[in-house]
Every structure is written in C-alpha cells, then in structure tokens.
Assembly symmetry: D2
Homo-oligomer: 224 residues x 4
C-alpha cells in the first residue's frame, strides 16, 4: 500500500483560524489573516475543537493518491459521501500484473493456495479479453483482493470523522492501515488540527464500550 498526500490547501491552520475569527469579531475580510501568530492560531484551533465548532475546518482540504489497496477496501472507502474520488476504471483499464492483497491471517499452505487461485483468475481474465469479452465483463472473475488506485479528497472536518471510524481497532484492517497512513501525512501539514484525530479512544471514551476491541483499558487512559 502506498499513500501520498498529493495536494492540500496552503497554510491550512491559518485559514481555519481566520475563518473562525471572522465569525466572532468585527474584523474585515482584508485583515482576517493578519495578526494571527502561530500561537494565536493554535489557541483558536484548540478552542474550536474543544467546543465542537467544526465548520471552519471544512475550508481546508487534502488530496491523497493511494495505490496497492484492494477493491474490497475501496468498496468501503467510497461509502464516505462527503468526499471526492477518482478511481482507476476496471472498464477502461485492463489488468496485467498480479497485484492483489493476501490478508496476513492467510498463511503457509493456505497462502500458496490463495495465490494460485488469484493467478488462475488473472489468467482466465486475460483469456476472456483475448476471446473478445469486454474488460468490464471479464473483471467479474477477479477476486476482491485485486488492487486498484484512487485519488481521494476530503476536507479536514470529514477527515476527523473518517479517522474516527477507520483508525479504530474495530475497523477492517486494510482500511485502518490506509487511514493511519493518511493521518500521518495530514499531521505533518497541520499538526495542531490533527493532534487528537483518530479513533474515539484517543480523545476519551470508546462509544462502543471500553473493551469492545480488546485494547487494554490503561492504554485508553494514557493515549490522550
């Protein structure tokens, strides 16, 4: 799996703080980005996060390029509706390489068998195409393990929600790996904004009950 941050709104923390400042003060548009030292920005951001006043975080967006993830994973990913996606089409682009995901729980002999079946499927896919079957139909035989590529854009408020759901231990492991890699990238650019982003237990209690994922309780308490 490869996750790259392709683009983001420039100076994201400054923009969030500026938009928030406009809501609560007499400042004009010309001046909203002025006199907002890093320290002041951080104070604003902390306050907004604490109050749950999240709309200013919508003004900044992040675009990720992701490859080496399975169609099983993107089927979950594209369920997020406040987001924009451009995915490599299986209707227009044909498969050539054996790019697929073998879950870690499938080991040894089972893994060998998994790989043989995946490769047989790919070979048959290619045979179908050679026989004149359209790519969009041939792909029906491809296992969900096969990889795809996708460009994803979300604003920071939606990223909070996404990380909340998908960095959780209860999320499916592949999308969790992806979410965690996205969070690492987002933190590099906007550390104050994403400081407490992640699974709910990073901020406090787990909504599903404290031990629902089996994570030891102590870690809950110290994680924040």
């Amino acid at each position: 799996m490869e996750v790259r941050l392709l683009r983001h709104t420039p100076e994201p923390e400054l923009l969030v703080a500026s938009a928030a400042k406009l809501c609560y003060s007499k400042v004009g548009i010309e001046d909203i980005t002025k006199n907002l030292s890093r320290k002041k920005q951080n104070e604003f951001i902390k306050k907004l996060l604490k109050m749950g006043h999240l709309s200013p975080f919508e003004h900044i967006s992040f675009t990720f390029g992701i490859e080496g993830i399975s169609r099983a994973c993107t089927h979950q990913l594209v369920r997020h509706r406040i987001a924009s996606f451009s995915q490599q089409s299986q209707r227009y682009v044909s498969f050539e390489k054996e790019e697929y995901i073998v879950p870690r729980t499938i080991k040894k002999g089972l893994k060998t068998k998994f790989e043989r079946l995946a490769e047989d499927s790919l070979k048959f896919y290619q045979e179908l195409i050679e026989e004149g079957v359209p790519q969009e139909d041939a792909r029906y035989i491809l296992p969900q393990a096969f990889c795809t590529k996708i460009v994803v854009t979300m604003n920071a408020r939606e990223l909070f929600h996404f990380f909340n759901l998908r960095c959780c231990n209860r999320a499916q492991w592949e999308i969790r790996q992806m979410a965690e890699a996205m969070l690492v990238e987002a933190k590099k650019i906007a550390p104050n904004i994403f400081m407490k982003a992640g699974a709910p237990c990073v901020q406090g209690a787990c909504p599903e009950g404290e031990l629902s994922c089996g994570r030891p309780k102590r870690r809950h308490l110290t994680a924040s």
Copy 2:
C-alpha cells in the same frame, strides 16, 4: 436480480406540488395540500420539470430493496453520494450458496470455466473460514461476480440524476438493468414525476454526441 420498492413517501405527487405552491403563493401551511386536484398537481409538476426547478422533488423519497446483484455493481452504486445505503456485510455474514453473476458476453466453454473458477473460489473461501480465517479476510478470494443485497433510499431529484446516468446505454449493463427496474417501480407510484426520467436521450439530445452509444438516431427523436 430482484428489485423491490419497499417504501416511499405517501402521495408523493401531492407533496411535491404542495411544496412548490408554497414557494410561489400566499397560501398557509394548513392549506398547501388543499385544492390541488390531480390535474393541478400535474400542471405544477410539468412546469417545475420544464423550468428545472427541482428542489421540491427532494421532499419525496423511495426505498428499494435489491438482491442478486454483484459486488462489482454495488461498488458503482455506492458512489452515488446523495443516497442512503444498508448493505449486507461480508464481515458479519458468510457466504454459503453459489450466488454470482455471469455476464452474458461470457458463453459456452468460457461460461463453464467461469463457473468452475467461481465455485472453486467459494469452496476455498469456506475452507479458509473452517481453518479459522476471519470472514472479512476470507472474502478477499471471492470474485467480484458474487452477489450482495442492499437497501437504497434516494429522493426523487437524486433519482432523476441516477436514472440519467445509469439508464444510459453507456452505463455498465448490470447497473443499467438495476436502474431500469427501479425506474419501472418509481413510475408506478409517481407517473407524472418520472414520465421523462431516464437517459438524457429520452428528453432530448445526448450530451456525449448523438451516436456515442450506437443507438440509431431516429429512436432518439421519437423516444420522448
């Protein structure tokens, strides 16, 4: 494939006409649904559709239950973001029956081979589960042809958009079949609202150029 209309807003044409009437007249809420004969409702609906004033059509929604469609199809379906979905989970529900879609373009010997490979995949999936692999991981080997079940709710405005894209000859055949079955159901309930719903060529010109799908031009002209 089976498509059922499970629920819809009652008296949908009356509600759309009432909401529109409120926008343009002095009527009070108590009276907006009064004195709206079927004839008057239809006039309102026709006018709204002609002017492209589509927001009143958002007040009515339709819930479909769909089964016997492939995961390849639902991966496209859930890209529609102004919609609500409840899909049978491959994490919590295991597969038993050989329910998968074989595209019609795959015939004779190829079809036999397709079926053998699909069944081998299902058997291996079951073996994985018996060996203790979690369902959410075992499913990676299942081809995209395998069936799923989904409940979908969309409002009428979004259905217009959905039918516009997915009833088109250029749409992938499985999702087109599904969209056409949904349109048939919707028309039974709200015939005036969905009278001209469907591919763009039903209403007039094709935005992609007149012959992009190979459909004969004459049919374009007479379809409306």
Copy 3:
C-alpha cells in the same frame, strides 16, 4: 409559530429495523420486514443507537411545514445541508399582513417602539412596490423579524444531529422552539427512534462543559 408534520415514511421503525437486519443476517429482501415484532424492532433500534450505527436511520424521512417564524430563524435553519427546503419566496410573493416576531426580551415601551418601526417598514415596503420597485428589492427594508413559511424534509439521522444542536439551551431561542416542536411531532410517530433525541445533555454529558448554559447539574443527571 406553527409546526406541522406533513408527511413521513410509513412504518418508520419497521423500515429502520429491517435495513439493519439485512446488514447482519442472511435474510433475503422479501423477508426483511417479516418476523419483526414491535419488541424486536425496539431491540434493534436500541442496539443501533447504542453502537452509534446510524446509517439505517437515513432510510426514513420527515417533512415538516413551518410558518410564523422569522427570516432570522430560517437563515440559521437553511445552514443545515443534509436537508431539503422549499421556502416562500420574497421575490415572487409580496407581504401584506404585519407578521413579524418580537423577541420576549423586548418589553413594554421598547416593544411598542419595535412594533411601530416594523409597521413603518412594512408601509414603506408597500409604498416602494406601488412606486414600481420590484418585490425582490423592496424587501431589503423589511426587518429580519418578518415571518416566512417553509417546508423542510430531513431524514432521521440528520434530525438527530439537528435536535442535538438546536434543542440545546445554547441555541438561539426561536430555532430552539422550532426544533422542540419538531421533536414532539417526530416522537409521536417514532417514539423509540427519537426517545433520546435532543440536546446532548439528554443523553449524557454536555460537550461544552457541564454548566455552560447555566442549567443546573442535577437536571443533567436525571434527564435521561
């Protein structure tokens, strides 16, 4: 202010429970609404609410007709984006009656003065129209206190969010009154679904700090 529930998805609790049942079991579409006694429905609904699995609540929607609320109030209302609105147009419908809201904090002599100014504004508005000024321009002189009518549709998940924000003591009083009246109507139709809907303190702790609205702490504890 008058708030009426105009329409709603029929048997909403059954539909939510059915959609949820599909996610977690092997049932077919034909049977998802079967064998769901009221008791079973309630168990499903309680479980979904407790786990925060809220997407099945999107399948049901509620349409309200509201009149006798100020434009100050609807300006806040239409900020909710996962909702559909049809509002009486000030461009196409002219004002005749003195329908405006006087906040309760404006009393006695100030109230008399408020009313005089509101009526002067309305008279001048009518003079402008008589002089040939378009309605859409004449309305610029009308105070934000003037009333409007609106039809609003939201699904139950968005209603949860709406009630959470707008039934709170920290919400502006007019939109809070409106939200509370909507909640009363919704509860009549789907009592199990909306049982714990409302300000965050109905369910548990206030996210803004326990005493931020001045509400006594004891009431927090007993409200749920």
Copy 4:
C-alpha cells in the same frame, strides 16, 4: 461589495488532469502528475467538460472572503449545500456602522426615506442593546439590507453549478454580482477550467426558453 479569493488548491488544472488520467490509464500515483504539459492538461480538461465527466473537478477547491453583501443575499447563498461557510455572527458581533445595501431601483426621495428608516433601525438596535436586550434579539429589527461578512469554500464542480444558476440574468441582482466577481477570480487561477463557466446561455441554450430573461437572442448565439 468586496470579493477576494483567499485560498485555492495549488496548481488546480494539473491536479484535475492528473486525477482524470488515473481513471483512464495504467499510470501509477507517483507518476500521475508527470508528463502533463500545459497543453496536455488543457486537452484533458476540455474533454472532461465536453463529456460531462465532472467528478475530477471536485478535487480542487476555492475559498472566497466576501463582505459588503446583505443578509438578504447570504440567505440565498447558504442554500447551496455542497459548500462550506463561516459567517460573521449577529449573535456575537454587534453592529456599529451604517452598512447596508440600497438596491439601485430605489432612487431619489425613496432612497432618502430608505436610508432614514435603515438608520432609525440601527439606532433603535443600539438602544435595545443599551437597555440590556441580547444582540441576538435586538437584531430582529435590522432590515435585511444590512451587511454581513462570510467566508465561502466550494469545489470547482459545485462552482460550475453555482455560476450556472447565479450568473444567470434571472438570478437576483446582488447574488449575481457576487457570483460574477467570484467567477472573475476563479478564471484568473484556472482559466481553462472556468472558460465556459457561467449562465447556461454561455454554453448554449437557455433551459428556461430562449428569451426568458429578455436578453437578445443574437448574444446567446455568439457568447460561446
């Protein structure tokens, strides 16, 4: 009215072209932004616009700061739901200056009377506040002509839709002025993307009938 482009996704045309390229080719994420000369980008953008394949335009967003517009105007603006807003609060920020919009159709004696009434309203607003009435209640007397400030973020696809509706001669004049100023700014940054953005008649036929706004027919034909 003052409209400033505060921020935008860097190199927006390159990002749109790259995302589109991913959909249709075998390229990897690392290379999607490579070998995309300005000429190639423009070809991609033209093709996408022509086919109506608009999702890649969602990856880029534009943030505008706007001041000197009336609350009558922002009430319309915030109806756009695929957008993010931060507006100066009338609950937390009090009015001091006489900042309001007088529509051009209100002239001479009527204008003088309009101004007197607006100023009386502001004085009474200030009196209310001095008497202890909360700002959120005092503002009920302020005419809709009074100005506000707002930060707006939209992605390019939503901007297409916004310009389509709001640059049209049939849109209300104040929001049209605002939309046109936004379009000018957007065109500076992404000229190829916004080349044909604007009212529907810029691209071709008017959906409401050719002469519905009174604009001469010839201009329709030559505008594109």
